[in-house]
Each structure stands twice: as C-alpha cells, then as structure tokens.
Amino acid sequence: MMPLAFAPEGSLVRIIDIMAGRGLTRRLIEMGLVPGSVIKVVKTMGPGPIVIEVKGTRLALGHGVSMKILVELVEGRI
Amino acid sequence: MKIIIRLGILFTGLGYILMAFLSVLNWISTAFSVNIGYIPLLDYVSNDLGYALSTFTIGMLFIYGGWKGPSDVKGLSTILVGGILATALFFLQLLIVGAGIADVFILAVAGEEAGEYDILRSLLQGSILLGLPALGLLAYSITVFKKMNRKDTGYGD
C-alpha cells in the first residue's frame, strides 16, 4: 500500500482509502476515485502532478492530492 | 531505410539547433551593439530570443526523436510534436511575411513614409527552409502512427 504519488508509471492500482478533508474527498469520489475502484497511472513525473485514467477519462492530479490517495498495486508496469 | 530516416530526423534537429545558436548571436549583436563580424548565415534567422528558444526546442525534440527512433512510442511522440511545432512556425513565418507586405502596402496607399520590405530575404528565413523537411517529418510520423494501430491485423512488425 502506498500513496498514489509513488505508484509507478503504467501500472494499475486499486484505491484503498482517501485521507483528505470532506470537500476534497467528495470531489475525488465524484470524479470516480472511489475506494475499491481500479485506476491506471498514465504518467508520473516524480515529484509533481500525475495523470491517471479513471472511468475512461484522463485526470491530472496535483502532488498534494496524489499523496492523500492510498492505493495498492494490481498490475505492475504494462 | 530506417537508418536513413533516423539520420534525416537527427540532421533536421541539428539544423534547428544551429538556427537557435545563430539567433542568439544575432540577438547579442543587435541588443548590445557588439560587432561580431559577418557570418553569412546570420541573415537567415531572426534576432528574437523567443525564436531562439522555439527553434532550440524543436531541435531538441527532433534529436531525441531521431535517437530513439520512430518505432519507439517516446521517439514517435517527440517527432510528431516537433513536426507540429515546426510546421506552425513555418506558417507563422509566412503570415509574418504577408503582414509585412500588407503593412508596406497600407502605408504606401496612405501616402505615409513606408520602409522597404525585402520579400525574398524574409522568405528565405530558416524557419521556412527547415520547415519543409519538418512538414515531411510530421506527415511521416502520422503515417507511422496509423500503421501502429493496424497491428491487430496480425501482420505485426
């Protein structure tokens, strides 16, 4: 288990938990980042924003946000 | 065949880098009134730093793309984007030339004093000259992309 920020590029991860305030959590959940769902890490630039694919669309998340989302690896680099 | 293409891409990239370098020289000589002596190629580039940055970027993209090769996703990406930017620069230069001509025209019609405008020289700018092979590269990278997506026909690469 690790923060989304550390997930390797090209991997599939499952969301375990979101450790953020109410408003942010709500927004993330609505964008499809629901605990239990699987997302793909499209691009990660080390310390910086990342791009994920969730529910069929591309989302860019800031570093702070991706640090608050805990995930586990489903499939490594594709 | 592949090697020739990659070399072509690399050389185009180097060409753009050269333009960037010359552009910086040009800028230094204009902004600081330093006399560098006459380098023939200086007439073919703008003395604008932004231009230098742009051509440098395009050059880097092509060089990276040529090095990685168009069969690599990363390489293809940089070639494609480099091609797009170079083509944009090409058309931009054409537009600027057009604007220059229009301006001289307008001022002349109004009876104001208008400067001269050397059409040939503005057309011979590096961005236009190198823009032609760049256009070719753009088209090429798109065809490679299309071929890539047809690989589920089973004939693979």
Binding site: L28 | T78, L95, I96
Partner: protein
Amino acid sequence: MSHCDTWIPKARRKKEKEAKIRVALAGNPNVGKSVIFNELTGGRAWVGNWPGKTVEKKVGVSEVDGLELEIVDLPGTYSLTAYSIDELIARNYIVDEKPDTVVNVVNATALERNLYLTIQLLELGSNLIVALNMMDLAEKEGIKINVRKMSQILGVPVIPTVAIKHVGLDELKETIVKIAGKKPKTRKIVDYGKTVEREIEKLSRMARELGLGEKYDCRWLAIKLLEKDSEIEQKLLLINNGCRLVEAAKSSRIMLARELGMDIEEYMVEKRYLRIKEIIEACIEKGASPEVSLSDLVDYAVTHRVFGIPVMLTILYMLFQFAFTVAIPLMDLMDLLFNTYLYDLITGSQLPSLLKSFLADGIVAGIGSILVFLPNIVLLFLALSFLEDVGYMARAAFVIDRLMHKLGLTGKSIIPLIIGFGCNVPAVMATRPIEDEDDRKVTALVVPLMSCSARLPVYLLFAGAFFPAYQGFIVTSMYLLGLFLAIGVALIFRKLVFRGPTSAFIMELPPYMIPLAKNIKLKTWERTKRFLFKAGTVILVGMLLVWLLSVTGPQGFLGSKALEDATLLEKSWVGILGHLFEGVFKPLGWDWRAAVALLFGFIAKEIVVGTTAILYGATEENLKTVLNSVFTPLTAYAYMAFVLTYVPCLATLAAIKSELGWKYMLLALVYELALAYFLALGIIFIGKFIGFR
C-alpha cells in the same frame, strides 16, 4: 373541443399560457454542451451572470415548429452537491425554475463518469432527455451502445448525437418539444439497499407530510438529508417544522453509520457507481480499442518532464508573435482611419471649434485609442480560443502547475496571466474558472502587472528616446520586470494575506480535438464583445472627462486651443491637478506635465503618449528630442517602471470590482501605487548610486 379540431400536441396547447418552452442544458465539462448550445441557438444568445454570483449565465433562443425555445446553459458540473457554486446554481435552477425540459449532454466515450450526473438529475426529478454526444468518437473507439435499452433502463428518451456535425439535433429539438412540461414520477433509479431505503422512505414520508412534495421530489430530499447536504438543511430550517425533518435525518444518519460501518456519503456514491456499472454492462458492447490514441502520443512529449515547459514556451512565443506581428498592418490601418483620416476630416470641417474639438479630441481620439488595439486583441483571443478548443490549455496548466505552486499560484492561473499581456480586462475575467478563492484573488490582483498592449507605446517612446541602441532590450526588460514583480507580489500575498492552503489541483485532460471553426469564432467574438463594451465604455467616458477637464479651468472655459498650447493647458483643471502632484514626484525627477500624463494614464494607458505630446507641445517627430530635455535616461527608466506598475487602468479596476468586490479593487489600487512609487524611487536611488544622473 369541437370535432373539427385536430389533435393539438400538449406543447402547442401550452402556447396559450406560455409562449415558450424553457430548456436547461446540463452536463459534465468538456462534453460538447456548449457546442450543442451554439448549434441549437445559432448564436442567438446572450451572456450575463447568475444573480448575486460571479458565475456566467448563458441564455439563448431557438425555434421548433413555430414554437420558441428558451435555452439556459447550466454550468458544467460532475454532480449536484452543495459543495460548489456551480453545482448549486445548476440544481437550484432546476428545482426553483422548473424548466419544461432538461437536456443532459453526455459524452458517449466516458459513460461511467457522465452517468453519475445523469443519475443525480433523475433523482432530482427533472424532466430529462439524455443527449448521447460524441457518438462518432465512441464508434472510433469501438464502443457500441444500445440506445434503446439505455432509454428503457433510465426511463427517459436517449438521443444519440454528434453535435459538431449537427447530427441528431433535429431529433433532439423535436423530443424537447414532445416531452415538455411532463411531470416525471418519482422513480427509484438506484436501490440503496434495504437499511438505507428504509430511512429514505421514512424521511420522504415526513417531507410529504410537511407539504414539501409540491416543490421538491421527496425521495431526493430524503437522500440529500442523509448525505448531510448543507444547503438543503439550511432551507429546511427556514420553514415551519423543517427542523424536525433535519433532526430526524440526523438520527437516521447516526444509526446508519453504525449499521453500515462506513461514511454514508461514500456508501451512496459507491451504490450509484455500482448501478452505473450495471447499466453500462447492459447497454454496451466494447470492441477492440486502439493501444495508443493520438492524444496519448502527443501528450507524451507535451507533458514530458523535460520538454513540457519548453514546448509550452514555444507555443506561447508563437501565440504572441501571431497576435502582435500579424496584427501590425491592421493596427496601422486602424490608426490611419481614425487618428488621421477621421480626425483630419473633422478638424478640417466647418463645424464650430468647440464641437470640432469635442468630436475630434474627445470622441474620435477616445474611440481611436481603443480601436487601434482591437486587431491585436482579437488575434490574441482567436489564438487562445483555438488552443483552448484543441485541448492544449489544460496541458499547459498541468505542465506549469508545480512551478506555479511554488509561486503561490495554481496551474490554472497561467491562462489569465497570458491574456493579461494583451489586455488586463479580459484577463481578470478569465480568473473565474479558478476554483480556489485565494488562488483566484491572488491571480486577479497580480494580473495588472502583466504589461498589456496599451503600455507598449509608452515603452517604445521612452526606450526609443533614451536608449536608441538597446531599444528592444529595454522594452523586454519591462516585460520581465513585470513578471518578477508578479512573482514577488504573489508570494507575499500568499504568505501574508491569503494564507489559505494551496488548492488541490484536479483537472480533466480532454482528448485533443480538431476544433470547429464556428466555435472558435463564437468564443473569440464573445470575448471581444466583452472587451469592447467594458473597456470601451470606460475609456470613452474617461477620455471625454479628460477632454472636459482640459478645456475648462477655474477661470472658466479655455477653449480647445488648450489642447495644443501647453501654457494654456497649465491653467486648466488638468494643469492644476498636475501641479498638485508635482511635489510628490519631485524626488523622482518628473515635472507636472509627466504627472498629468500619468493622471490620464489612469483612465487608459493608451493615452499617455498622446497626452505627453500635447503637454510638451511637441509633435510626433520631435517628441523624442523634447523629452530628452526634460528627462534623463535614469528618470525615464524609472518613469517606464512606474507606468508598468502604478495603477490598473480604470477598466481593469472595474473588472476587479465586478469579480472580487470593492475591497479588492481598493487593495489593487493601493498596493500598486505604493509598489510603483517605491520601485521608481528604488531605481533612481540605485541608479544614482551606480553613477547615472
């Protein structure tokens, strides 16, 4: 009805009561909602604000079979919670105004995300039609949707469309009319499980007893209460016995939290997504999708950690070259038409001299000063709209976000800052989409430090007069100075004044698309219109005021000669004011005339050069030499820096006031004045120290 009447559709019968059908457009951002809006209204639309808010409201009209449709474009949202203004506006419009039909524009290639809003709209009780847009893209990606099955499951009409090719829109219009005014029955779109459904039943019954069934869908109310929706709670507390319902909801929540073992909101969101999955599985056949899409391919290089920013700078460079250089002939044309032809025409005519002056120096000069920049600004907006519609701007914001964060801003701030180089007014307005309040405020306050095109003539004049050899370099230094100041000011504001946490960056990256020329034209026209009206009226009124103050003085009317004769001008109100400020500017080495020019520049920076010419009694040719006798290179540079910083032009201040309010407008005014003054002082001081005069 007599036997001779043929059956009249319900909508036509309504015509007796209301002449038009009210339609609301709802949907996620980036689904082509505005394309559908434009296609339906054909450009017959107007833009305003939702009452009391700074969110844009677009209303348009359309026609079907002789019936008029009034179409409201609701803000693009992903959901209908109480967490954001956009969502509140959207849902309150549907609940309070009760439009006859709601059209939910859905992106067929992103159903899982889009249907979430659809479900919310259905639960809200809207009379819904789903416009399944981007069907062509779905086909390309191998997604086949069984439209009839989806319509069956959702219980509403589903119309496949390809908005940019105008496919399906006629059918959409007809369906809008067909189902207009129907009142949908409460249905259970999502089953939330026995325990939760029990509480929903309980609460909705209570709501019905309180008589809320008239206005609201009671099931929806119950669901919102269980989700602890703050706006609903507030509204209920205001009505008779509403507090009982709120209390009941509270105890339900506590009980459910215990039984479910998790946060209720999360639980309900999960249930919705599960239902969505079911719906999708029933309606969709997904074929083989391409490994790498073209968008992905481009994105690799565009968002690359090393290449990303250079690519962005390159695109920006080309943007500005386009907007400035290509605009030159057009600007010259404008200048000739107004400041020469028209001006000469008026001054050469037989009109009474006062009227002549009013028309020529007041109105023509005023309008001229705005119109000269029009080509520049239009081209800038054109290029920006193109980049936005292609989808690049989202990438730009993404690429630069980290850097912006260090400066106390957000990636989304970059767009207003870029626009600011053309004109500060639309730039301030472009700060609206920045969600975080603090980020928005800081960005808007920093925008005036971006050297707009109106300041360029001032830079060129002084740079040309005092630094002829390094002209380009000096002008560029002004732009850079503005940037540095902006960074510094943003940091200071962030650390001291707006200490809120830096906002989370969440942004959707839509796939790249070839934009429709029509949409770009419309967008550009909208922005230009806004610029012309806001900036134009302010500048025009300002110029007339300046004119008035120049031709009159405490001794009475001075006549139009005052504008040509500097000694006469000194006796006018303008001259008096100038002398008043002289003391303030003495340490900077500027005389009363420079002060007056600055005063005029407050109205609009464009007129500083013209005013300077009049004040020093010079013509365009010898202005430079005249200036040399009044300024020194050092004081001139300080003057340029002052012009860069001192005050946002009147129109910009008006924009700041309308976006952020009086307080922030005053803040902008005060901080910039102070900054400008001390900056100029600093330059003079350092200059003298180094050895300049």
